[in-house]
């Protein structure tokens, strides 16, 4: 077990005459036993960061510490980390037993009886004991996934690194493995860095999530904080599904006026003081359809989800999404009025995207909800 401290990490790939900055000035700390999810669109530097932690990539600048030990220049095998790869990377010519035991056999001085025992107990923990003598190609995707996990667990490393380990599984199995992985991490209490491009996965699994874009860390925090108080427009857009609604509005005193006759009266104009334009954001679940109102949009599609409906509307050139009650079924082409509370409103700087105001509505503490 260990905490991870990443300080001023820079990773530049030189390919001949052009160089690509994959990670820029990254500062990130992962607490002992924490499950941290690195999330971002593809090419944002999250996998590169993970590979730097793993020791598979040399860092260009900066340092990485595990606890008090500096590991920046150590080989991956000397860092006491185990990694689960996206495509599992099981050794095709070895049985499950040999796959799981390979690392111990090479890097530890344990007697082979002890190794066998540990392989057995890990297999039992993962429910793959009957598969121990099979080759990887005889296993299903979910089983291969378990073997890959087993290979990481058996070494009892200080740090687990996981690079999109669930992305090759089908939706149902992915949801199952998500829960299982969380329970496992909780039981083993090993510091874990988990990379994914799937914001749902990040929200569901992480103790904290770190959002990256273009090689730059945007925000780190508990999932709910990142969702409710995004640091900037990118984080607000990336986290949440369906995505947040955004439009540009002119500021006139306390009034925001947007495209297609959209207007909104602010009771607290403080965040927009001194600004002429601002980006306005509203989460789909905060939009309600109302009987009468000045803000009107045209319904384009309604997607029934069973427990709710996604209502896509057109506001001039803009598309708006609202999550509405399943009993409401507006027809395509119908004009509807919508409204939202000021407490649910997000405001961002037009140029920098920096957040000026985020959600301020109260979160009720009660059964199943953690008080903040």
């Amino acid at each position: 077990m260990a905490r991870i401290d990443i300080t001023d990490l820079v990773k530049v790939y030189d390919s001949g005459d052009e160089s690509i900055v994959a990670v820029e000035d990254l500062d990130l700390g992962v607490k002992d036993g924490e499950f941290l999810v690195l999330v971002g669109p593809s090419g944002c530097g999250k996998s590169t960061t993970l590979r730097c932690i793993a020791g598979l990539e040399d860092v260009t600048e900066g340092s990485i510490h595990f606890g008090d030990r500096e590991v920046t220049d150590l080989r991956g095998s000397e860092r006491d980390v185990a990694m689960v790869f996206q495509n599992y990377a099981l050794y095709p010519h070895m049985t499950v037993r040999q796959n799981i035991g390979f690392g111990l056999k090479l890097s530890s001085s344990l007697p082979s009886a002890e190794i066998a025992e540990r392989v057995e107990s890990v297999a039992e923990m993962l429910g793959i004991t009957p598969l121990l003598d099979d080759k990887p190609k005889e296993l299903s995707g979910g089983q291969q996934q378990r073997v890959a996990l087993g290979r990481a667990i058996v070494r009892e490393p200080a740090v687990f690194l996981m690079d999109e380990p669930l992305s090759n599984l089908d939706a149902k199995l992915r949801a199952e493995m998500r829960t299982e992985l969380q329970e496992l991490q909780h039981d083993l209490d090993v510091t874990t860095v988990y990379v994914t491009h799937d914001q749902t996965e990040a929200m569901a699994m992480g103790d904290r999530i770190a959002v990256m874009n273009d090689g730059i860390l945007q925000q780190v925090g508990p999932p709910e904080d990142v969702y409710r108080s995004p640091a900037n427009e990118f984080v607000a857009t990336f986290i949440g599904s369906p995505s947040i609604n955004l439009l540009t509005a002119e500021v006139d005193g306390t009034t925001l006026s947007g495209p297609a006759g959209f207007t909104y009266e602010l009771s607290n104009p403080e965040p927009v003081e001194g600004r002429s334009r601002v980006r306005v954001g509203v989460r789909p679940e905060d939009i309600t359809l109302v009987k009468g109102g000045s803000n009107r949009a045209t319904v384009s599609v309604v997607e029934p989800m069973g427990n709710e409906n996604f209502c896509y509307m057109e506001l001039g050139e803009h598309e708006l999404t609202a999550r509405i009650d399943p009993t409401l079924r507006p027809q395509a082409g119908e004009e509807v009025a919508f409204a939202f509370d000021e407490s649910a409103l997000y405001l961002f700087d037009v140029d920098t995207g920096e957040a000026l105001k985020t959600k301020t509505d109260a979160v009720a503490a009660g059964i199943g909800t953690e008080a903040r």
Binding site: G55, G76, M83, Q86, H93
Partner: protein
């Protein structure tokens, strides 16, 4: 529907007929070699030729054995080809692995330089190699036959192409598991390449087995002759001993047949490797 099926049947018939004809065309010389090995020299040259085996094989063999050291030559050939194949497979797969999976300066130029050596015919290399071997006193030795051809460009090319299909994650995974670079090569990469290695082994074995001009120049004593060199010795200036050549040739294909039978399964899947997505 029925029309189409008839068309298919005709095509199938034509295809199989063609394959049959080609097979027969290739088998006839082989068959004739074996038949001729069982005939006395007089019957060999008579017309029309005798098309079924005779009973003279052991007599022919006895003459061959008495007049030459052909059995020794078979052992020489087997020894040289086996040692060469083992060493060259190791060297070519190591080079192929490096070219496929490591980054180093001038990687591409070096690789293309190696490929470029393919255009040099053996005939061109024989004289410089002869001079070199005589200067370092390696004339009439097996190592002089084996060493110059160890780094085989075709072998390196073949292994590089195949090694590229090994996913990087597999090697990285082994690296994280604490494997050294050499362990990654022989415990992960090589086992994943089994069928390609078998194909390469056959190609290299055949290359060395068929080598004629170079051993002819280097090997001086008949006790060191390889099969092709020994066979050429059976062609005397005024008379060609067809009976003995045929016996010798028949014997010479036995080791090849054994090698191919052993590696057959891997060889076929090696040729097909990469043609189907698994």
């Amino acid at each position: 529907m029925r029309e189409q099926r008839r068309k298919d049947a005709v095509w199938k018939f034509l295809t199989y007929s063609f394959i049959l004809v080609m097979t027969v065309a290739m088998m006839v010389p082989l068959y004739w070699m074996i038949v001729a090995a069982t005939l006395p020299q007089e019957e060999f040259i008579q017309f029309p030729p005798r098309l079924y085996p005779g009973t003279h094989f052991f007599e022919n063999f006895a003459v061959l054995h008495a007049e030459t050291e052909f059995v020794v030559s078979i052992w020489n050939s087997v020894f040289i080809a086996v040692v060469y194949t083992v060493l060259s497979v190791l060297l070519c797969s190591m080079a192929g692995f490096a070219f496929a999976k490591y980054e180093f300066r001038f990687k591409e130029p070096i690789f293309y330089l190696i490929l470029a050596t393919l255009v040099l015919p053996i005939q061109l290399l024989v004289i410089p190699l002869f001079l070199m071997m005589s200067q370092i006193g390696w004339m009439d030795t097996f190592r002089a036959i084996i060493l110059p051809w160890l780094a085989n460009p075709i072998g390196i090319f073949l292994m590089r192409q195949n090694m590229r299909s090994i996913p990087d994650a597999l090697l990285e995974s082994a690296r994280m598991d604490g494997a050294t670079e050499f362990q990654i090569f022989y415990r992960i990469a090589l086992p994943a390449m089994r069928s390609s290695l078998a194909a390469l082994a056959i190609i290299l074995f055949l290359f060395q087995w068929d080598l004629f001009l170079y051993p002819l120049v280097i090997l001086e004593s008949s006790a060191n002759y390889t099969i092709p060199v020994a066979l050429s010795g059976l062609e005397e200036s005024r008379r060609i001993n067809y009976d003995q050549i045929m016996v010798a040739s028949s014997l010479a294909i036995i080791p090849l047949a054994i090698l191919f039978l052993v590696l057959q399964k891997q060889f076929v899947s090696g040729i097909l490797a990469g043609s189907l997505k698994e």
